[in-house]
């Protein structure tokens, strides 16, 4: 598998939606499921995708279509029931900015912690420290605990860290709309730079304009299956048609 290559093969995954899982240790160890209650939701149904290194792919679809599940399967956070999900090289996953920040840590300490969560070593992070701080535009606030940050500052720092992590694949879920308009533009620009460097981008978003600007290829998911896979313009047309939001 080449760095930057992504392969999903007949990926299927169902989620148990009972509020009370009520499983016993015995059932778990024997791998038996309990009967009764609402049936599991099939989030992914035999999804197959092959993405070449350096491609930019937008995943769109209605709520519950399996977009985030696809991303989490690719990131290796949620295992599949059957089929395979593989990403080549270093994968950076952006599902939520600032997840795992220590609220009592200042900005700099959180850069270390968050970088470490993404598998970076101290040397790798230190090397990028100044660039991250500059990108975040936090100025002197970098030295105060993040619990004092506004929500905008919080996500700006989160994005700044993620944007500087060495990666072959970036998986992004709806976290590009960060901060004010100027910062959002900067984020998009940064992503474009990373793509120029050859990073493979998979972006989940409901923002049609953003997907069109950022991605060459679009995958439309519906009910956990691939409904369309092709060039962005056609893909978005298909998506609008499906959603009944075609504008003449």
């Amino acid at each position: 598998m080449q760095p930057g290559e992504i392969v999903l093969e007949d990926a299927s995954r169902a989620f148990d939606i009972r509020g009370d899982r009520g499983r016993t240790v015995k059932e778990l160890l024997l791998g038996k499921a309990r009967a009764g209650g609402p049936p599991p939701v099939q989030a992914l149904r035999d999804v197959s995708l092959r993405i070449e290194p350096g491609e930019t792919v937008g995943i769109v679809g209605r709520n519950g279509a399996g977009k985030s599940s696809t991303l989490r399967a690719l990131a290796g956070i949620v295992p599949l029931d059957s089929g395979g999900a593989q990403c080549g090289g270093r994968v950076v996953t952006l599902l939520e900015l600032g997840a795992g920040f220590g609220r009592d840590f200042d900005g700099r300490e959180n850069i270390l912690l968050n970088g470490a969560l993404h598998g970076m070593t101290r040397a790798e992070i230190e090397e990028r420290m100044d660039a991250i701080i500059a990108f975040s535009e936090l100025g002197e606030f970098i030295g105060v605990p993040v619990k004092t940050y506004s929500s905008g500052m919080y996500v700006r720092l989160g994005f700044a860290i993620a944007a500087h992590i060495p990666a072959d694949v970036m998986l992004i879920d709806e976290v590009l709309a960060v901060g004010d308009e100027a910062f959002q533009r900067k984020c998009e620009q940064r992503i474009a730079e990373r793509v120029q460097e050859g990073v493979t981008l998979v972006l989940v978003s409901h923002d049609a304009a953003l997907v069109e600007r950022t991605c060459e290829r679009v995958v439309v998911l519906d009910g956990g299956s691939v409904a369309f896979d092709g060039p962005a313009l056609e893909g978005m047309a298909h998506y609008h048609e499906m959603m009944g939001t075609v504008t003449a």
Binding site: I77, L95, G102, D104, E109, L113, A116, L117, H118, G119
Partner: protein
């Protein structure tokens, strides 16, 4: 080893999260067990004299620090994965760093309190040659505690009853452990004594560590073999179960 730095950072965050903004800060980790020891000394050393031992406060303290490390690690490891649920759902990293960081924080406290107790004990009672066994016994204890902590943390993520059950078990467990007595102090019955010594997996750890620090004598060979085996078994078993159950953590927490 790529995640060694993450582990370091998690330990730092854990320490900071607990004691940021308090006047004594990390010192609370040491003050709490010391206060607890004072209370137990009053109860078992002065009020109810269960056992007669030389330098009884020190006798008691060695056992107590071991017990506090054991019980506090398990109690704080149990809810640790749930507490970090948002992180587990959003990022991919080795999940065992979470309970391991919790245990490491407890181990740091344990080591500092034990060092204080040991220095005082050595000053008053002298050092025996058997102290060379201390690193081995402590390593076995750490493996034992880490293994059980991995076990309870992953079990609690699936079955929320684990933490309360654990808390309920630890209380009587404390009283049957040879912390403020030796089994020989409270029963003359050989079978009952053997049961107190061997059926309670915490007992050989307490006894052997007390032997080398307070007693200045060599622990019995079976006791040393027992702690090594218990440490290895707990760690292997805990790690195996963790590995088996960790895949679905992002779904259940």
């Amino acid at each position: 080893m790529r995640y060694r730095f993450l582990f370091e950072q998690m330990v730092r965050r854990e320490l900071r999260r607990k004691y940021q903004g308090s006047a004594l800060g990390v010192a609370w980790y040491v003050v709490n067990p010391l206060v607890l020891m004072g209370a137990y000394y009053l109860m078992f050393g002065v009020v109810f004299k269960v056992a007669e031992h030389e330098d009884y406060p020190l006798f008691l303290m060695v056992g107590l620090v071991v017990w506090i490390f054991f019980s506090q690690s398990l109690l704080s490891a149990a809810p640790a994965l749930l507490d970090q649920g948002s992180l587990i759902r959003k990022a991919r990293f080795p999940r065992e760093t979470i309970p391991a960081a919790v245990v490491a924080v407890q181990a740091v406290t344990f080591a500092s309190v034990l060092a204080v107790v040991a220095v005082i004990t050595f000053a008053l009672r002298g050092v025996g040659a058997s102290v060379v066994l201390a690193p081995l016994l402590l390593a076995a204890l750490f493996a034992f505690v880490l293994g059980l902590s991995l076990l309870v943390s992953v079990l609690h993520a699936y079955f929320r009853d684990v933490a309360p059950i654990l808390a309920a078990i630890l209380l009587p467990w404390f009283f049957i452990s040879p912390i403020f007595f030796t089994p020989g102090d409270i029963t003359g019955n050989a079978a009952a004594r053997a049961a107190l010594e061997w059926l309670n997996p915490a007992a050989p750890f307490i006894t052997s560590i007390r032997d080398v620090i307070w007693g200045g004598v060599w622990p019995s060979a079976p006791t040393v073999l027992y702690v090594i085996a218990a440490g290895a078994l707990a760690l292997a078993g805990g790690a195996a179960l963790f590995r088996r159950m960790e895949a679905e953590l992002a779904v259940v927490v």
